[in-house]
Subunit: 406 residues, 2 copies
């Protein structure tokens, strides 16, 4: 957690309730019938207009709600009031009809909340290429509006409603103190498959009660995403629907001291919860890369390792096959010098520079038996570092994804 | 096979015996004891000096035999006489000792064949970070030398000796006729896991009896690799040991007419054999991308699809989840225009431009039941095309790779 520790006097404290911990935020999550049985529609309402920042998928195919939300943010990005999120249908590759459906959803939510449709963020997750069942969405929104409530219970319902193959809802919140005022940052997220560096199938919504400008919020969010959501991988796939949206009350200045650290902590919590909940995952893998020439190279090496099917199957099989780690890191022009690297497992030196093995096969195997494997690859070249988070690749991953829609 | 068909009068005919079909090539494959029971050491001897071309891994960590062979090719690339290949030990991440071992292996083979050590190509495949059992290699080489023989039987033994998790040896050979003379091109290869675009864990050795310059051979090999070995994927991992070496009798001019087509056919055969033998594979996937603006973009899209774990698990589960194909192709800046693409499965239109589904779920599922799935994504933008070959991701892939070394 080196990246997220707070070393000054901003006193960060963990809270329950995710988005529900933030004053002025009301939520609901219901079963609208988009999916067979589970909650599938969430509504988040802000009591006052919010500045909104976003980081979205770089996929050339972007789902309709992403396109529609992009236009809304151009119009009203300084005065957003609500979020509608559904699971069960990605509304991606659905053409003009899909965009009309996303617009209609925003209009319906806006009518219920008596706000402008441009003030609504829309997000979807689920199967690609299926049209939204708009009658069910409309009725579900009405039920959501009737159930809107502040607090952890409704945030939990909302976090549950945005799940796809997730096993657990994902919430995180922290309070921080900037010297004069106590603020809160909180969020909810979904994601457990199709997770890759660069915003794969994941949705995250974070908010705070600390006022700031939209530019200040965007700067903080972009930096946090690079260190959290963009450094996790479950299967290396990048989705058409990924997005992280952040909200803050409209303010005139920069973010208060302590905000960036609290936001980073919330994003890291949510990102790590996704990896821990990775489809079929039985173990998590934390990959620190240190001693790199640049952060870009350190990140590239960390991502290559957490994305490698061979590393992931070795972790699953508890096989101390360190060669696969080095081969993966070497494949991405990370500046790996064959004569300078060393590899650590769970803080023990595993392989020393120059390929002299320090831990025996049995010792290496014993380290791999942990349910949380922490590797550190020191490139021995410079001072830059990065961390990536991943999970193993199990037979269950294959089972889950071979029959996702059935 | 559009890329490999011969449309002129060079009359390409398939032969048995792979490398063994080429006059002047003798081979042997023995059990040297590097692995527990199976053949693990191959020797190939050329009766006359050969020009040698190569395409090797772009991994920053290169195995010792690659480095040593690189120096030999600088010295004697116009007059190579032998190849030594072992499985069971990659001789990668083995430092100076590994290089000395590779040099010693070349010296021992050279002494047995009464040639210069610089005339020997060395290649290894197997576990990373383990030292070569040099006494066994020496004794194995002696046995190989005693068994050197022309023809298909010895080529089969050699192809078997270079296997790791491969289930079948991989050989291919064709004769072609340039109008006056009949020539032969043939090869052997190994690879079934850690296969990715850009020369992942694979070794291929091809040769011909058609004389040409080293430059002519290199040009033909580089082009063929881009269309064959660099367009297959089993698991997206890139190895430290991958190499393809090509040999031809020393000549003064360019390659005879028909050579490029025959070489391409041999490389495609070997590449497709790797995919078909992919670890745990139950189905193969051929991904044609047409209508792209550039070949680079077409290749990027084809590779993204065959590399996608979500596409591969859908193929395994016979799930007609075309959204995953589009999401994968969209993730790599292939110039995918959301309003122009269309997708075909086994020559049937699956999804039309603008996301109107043509095949029903049941019809799509029926197509996915084939053991060889052929997809074509038409980008509808330009005239460039490319093809990639992959396989499904099964529970068996996980089983094999979770316990590779045990």
């Amino acid at each position: 957690m080196s990246a997220s520790s707070s070393t000054n006097n901003t006193r960060m404290l963990e809270l329950r309730g995710g988005l529900g911990a933030i004053p002025g935020v009301r939520l609901a999550g219901v079963h609208a019938g988009i999916k067979a049985r589970k909650r599938d529609l969430a509504l988040v309402a802000f009591d006052s207009p919010q500045v909104c920042a976003s980081v979205i998928t770089t996929n050339e195919i972007k789902a309709a709600p992403l396109l529609v939300t992009g236009r809304h943010l151009s119009e009203s990005g300084d005065a957003m009031r609500a979020i509608v999120i559904n699971s069960g249908c990605a509304n991606a590759c659905t053409g003009e009809r899909g965009e009309r459906d996303a617009q209609a959803t925003a209009r319906q939510a806006a009518a219920l909340l008596e706000i402008d449709p441009n003030q609504v963020v829309i997000a979807s997750t689920g199967v690609i290429g299926v049209l939204m069942p708009m009658d069910r969405v409309q009725r579900g929104l009405e039920r959501c509006e009737g159930q809107l409530e502040a607090g952890g219970k409704s945030a939990h319902d909302a976090a549950e409603a945005i799940m796809t193959t997730d096993r657990v809802p994902k919430l995180s919140a922290y309070s921080f103190y900037d010297g004069t005022t106590k603020y809160v940052v909180g969020g909810i997220a979904k994601g457990s498959g199709m997770i890759a560096p660069n915003m794969a199938t994941m949705l995250a919504f974070v908010a705070t009660d600390a006022p700031m400008t939209r530019a200040a919020l965007q700067a903080a969010l972009s930096e946090c995403c690079d260190e959290s959501f963009n450094m996790i991988s479950v299967d290396g796939d990048m989705s058409t629907n990924d997005a992280c949206y952040a909200f803050a009350p409209v303010g005139k200045g920069s973010a208060p001291e302590g905000f960036a650290a609290a936001l980073r902590r919330v994003c890291l919590d949510l990102a790590q919860a996704m990896v821990k909940d990775g489809e079929g995952a039985t173990k998590t893998l934390t990959m620190h890369v240190t001693g790199a020439a640049t952060v870009v190279q350190a990140r590239a090496a960390a991502r290559a390792v957490i994305n490698s099917n061979l590393v992931k199957t070795a972790v699953y099989g508890e096989d101390p096959n360190w060669g696969r780690v080095i081969a993966a890191a070497g494949s991405v022009k990370a500046g790996l010098d064959p004569e300078k690297w060393s590899l650590y497992v769970n803080d023990k030196l595993w392989v020393d520079v120059g390929a002299i093995e320090v831990l025996s096969e049995a010792e290496g195997h014993a380290e791999m038996e942990h349910s949380s494997i922490v590797l550190r690859l020191d490139l021995g070249i410079g001072d830059a570092s990065a961390t990536g988070w991943g999970c193993d690749l199990s037979k269950d991953y294959v089972r889950i994804n071979a029959s996702y829609r059935t």
